[in-house]
Amino acid sequence: MPVYFFKLYKITFYVALNCLILFCNSYNLLAQAKLGITAGYSNNILISDNSLNERNRDGYIVGINYNYLFNNLFLETNFTFISKNFRFQKFYNSEIYQQYDNNYLQLPVSLGFYFLKAQKIKISISGGGFVSYWLQSHIKGVLPNVYNSIDSLNSNGNITQYARLTEYKVKYIFSDADNRWGFGWNTGIGIHYLINRNICLALKGQYFQSITNNEKSKGNFQLYGYFKTFVIESGVLIELKHAKHFLKNGKL
């Protein structure tokens, strides 16, 4: 990757961090706030009332985490890029299937509390809601294409005919019918391991359930379908005041 890309990312990161610190300063939130980056694994499934066999699929998540602590409670948000992939097939074990690779930007806001505190370890539970935006989608699948049939005459004089199974893979083109904004609720459990007073490692398991459909509603004119997403992610969080120090001196 060219060097200027790294420079661009670095500048963007510094600008974003400075903006966040400015915001937190203005609301006096810096003292108890942590900022970090997280990354991990996602597993998503579409739940709908149609007759298809839905299957869950793997994906990934990366995000910027902001955590504001007050007593044993904390308010947390994690601006993430998350994949919510799924697959469905008409029949069990059928060769006929369709799979979606969906990428979302997601902003959950959670309220949590630490219910267990040891010397270096804190364990928390949290819950809240999220808003997401459907960035892009790729579809891959196999269909019996009746407009591409094969026939052959065997030695008994019988004709064998069948529709060819046809594979397709395409970038999904959004239309007005798509509901790209989504909402839902989330809950999770997390472990914070304190490396020192200012830096901690985080390991979180989260569950997200959307309550909005990917297709826009037309009264009763839609099928009920929503995502269930499990996430395991880990990351590093630092005290924001030290992030400020980091920006000034280039080291923690």
Binding site: G128, N145, V146, A177, F183, K218, G219
Partner: protein
């Protein structure tokens, strides 16, 4: 020290956000698979149409408004009263009068309504000044064929009251002609009573694969052919190509969502091993009742470089009826009340245009002329003969 004012504002924001989130609800209508009331029948029909209909993105019918209008009306009907059962037909006819899918039709299973049927595309066409019913052209076209022509029938395959009829032979010893009135060719080819059809087709394919120099052109007549088995296209057309031939694109529903469409997949004719380069003009004859698979024939031949289409616009039922449970849309049944026929796939021609409810236009328009027909003259066939030198 905790700043309680700021903390309170943050928590308020969180609660507000949660409230917004909780306000989003999805309302899914449930319906009975075994309807006991007219309300059940309608809601079953409405839901299945919603998931099984292939043209919601193009159709102008407001299906949500249909529900709001007709759900209370059906609720007032009694499934045990004969008059109410008859009245329901007018409701279903009104609901479906403007549906785009020209394959759409309803046959009633209820004993009170066995004589009733709804076919909006036919109703719309019957109101046109140019309307004419399907006509069995083979009855007069034998007059044009040279001695030794073959006419084969198979009464095991009936469509619109007509047995499958294949007519083939030469005209003026310079034109190879074939007509078939519906698409059951490959099924009939191997059926127990399909011997004559098989013999006629084998003779035709033999002539086609060893085309003599005296033959200057071909006429393929699918007028008043209401379609049938889509496999017939490859069965017949593979004799005209030496490589996979793209003639359009097909699209399928990939889920039960109203807009859950697949990408457009290639519509292909796969070649025959015995291909013989025909290289001669191919004239295709079509009329207002060339429908469904017959339209696929028309559009396939239109993509060949040496073809000409003569006659009228085709019917405009270009989708495919597929009796395959792997499809996510298409025909369905309301138990003990009615069966609804719908396209399971939709088709667009190689120019990316969908001709559903429009019909494929001819290169040379010659309308149906009942006076000439009564006199035993087929003006469309005469025109086709005149352009082959």
């Amino acid at each position: 020290m905790v700043n309680f004012k700021k903390l309170f504002s943050l928590i308020s924001l969180f609660v507000f956000f949660s409230l917004i989130v909780s306000c989003y609800r999805n309302s899914a209508l449930s319906y009975s698979d075994n309807p006991q009331t007219f309300k059940d029948v309608f809601e079953n029909y409405w839901m299945k149409m919603k998931s099984n209909y292939a043209y919601w993105d193009l159709d102008t019918t407001n299906w949500a408004a249909v529900f709001n209008k007709y759900d209370p009306l059906f609720n007032n009907l009694d499934l045990n009263k004969e008059n109410d059962i008859k009245k329901s037909v007018s409701y279903f006819r009104d609901i479906s009068k403007n549906l785009l899918d020209n394959h759409y039709n309803i046959n009633f299973l209820n004993p009170v309504l066995t004589d009733s049927a709804i076919f909006p595309a036919y109703d719309r066409k019957s109101k046109l000044i140019s309307f004419h019913p399907p006509y069995p052209y083979w009855k007069i076209d034998t007059n044009y064929l040279d001695k030794g022509y073959l006419m084969a029938k198979n009464t095991d395959f009936i469509n619109n009251g007509e047995a499958l009829t294949v007519l083939c032979g030469t005209i003026k010893h310079k034109i190879l002609y074939i007509s078939f009135n519906h698409c059951s060719l490959s099924e009939s080819y191997t059926s127990p009573n399909g011997y004559y059809i098989k013999y006629a087709l084998q003779s035709y394919f033999a002539m086609l694969n060893n085309l003599s120099d005296t033959i200057k052109g071909l006429i393929i007549d699918v007028r008043s052919n209401l379609g049938g088995d889509l496999n017939d296209l490859n069965f017949f057309a593979k004799h005209f190509v030496n490589h996979q031939h793209l003639y359009g694109y097909a699209q399928y529903k990939i889920g039960e969502g109203i807009y859950s469409y697949s990408t457009w997949l290639p519509a292909l004719v796969n070649p025959n091993d015995n291909y013989n380069n025909i290289g001669k003009p191919i004239i295709v004859l079509a009329d207002n009742f060339s429908a469904s698979t017959a339209e696929a024939f028309v559009m396939f031949f239109k993509t060949l470089p040496n073809s000409l289409l003569i006659g009228e616009n085709t019917f405009g039922a270009t989708g495919a009826i597929v009796e395959d449970s792997s499809m996510n849309c298409g025909s369905f049944t309301i138990p003990d009340f009615m069966s609804v026929q719908l396209s399971s796939a939709r088709f667009k021609f190689i120019n990316n245009k969908i001709y559903e409810n429009i019909g494929f236009p001819p290169d040379v328009f010659i309308p149906f002329n009942s006076t000439s027909i009564q006199e035993g003259r087929d003006l469309v066939l005469e025109k086709a003969i005149s352009v082959i030198h």
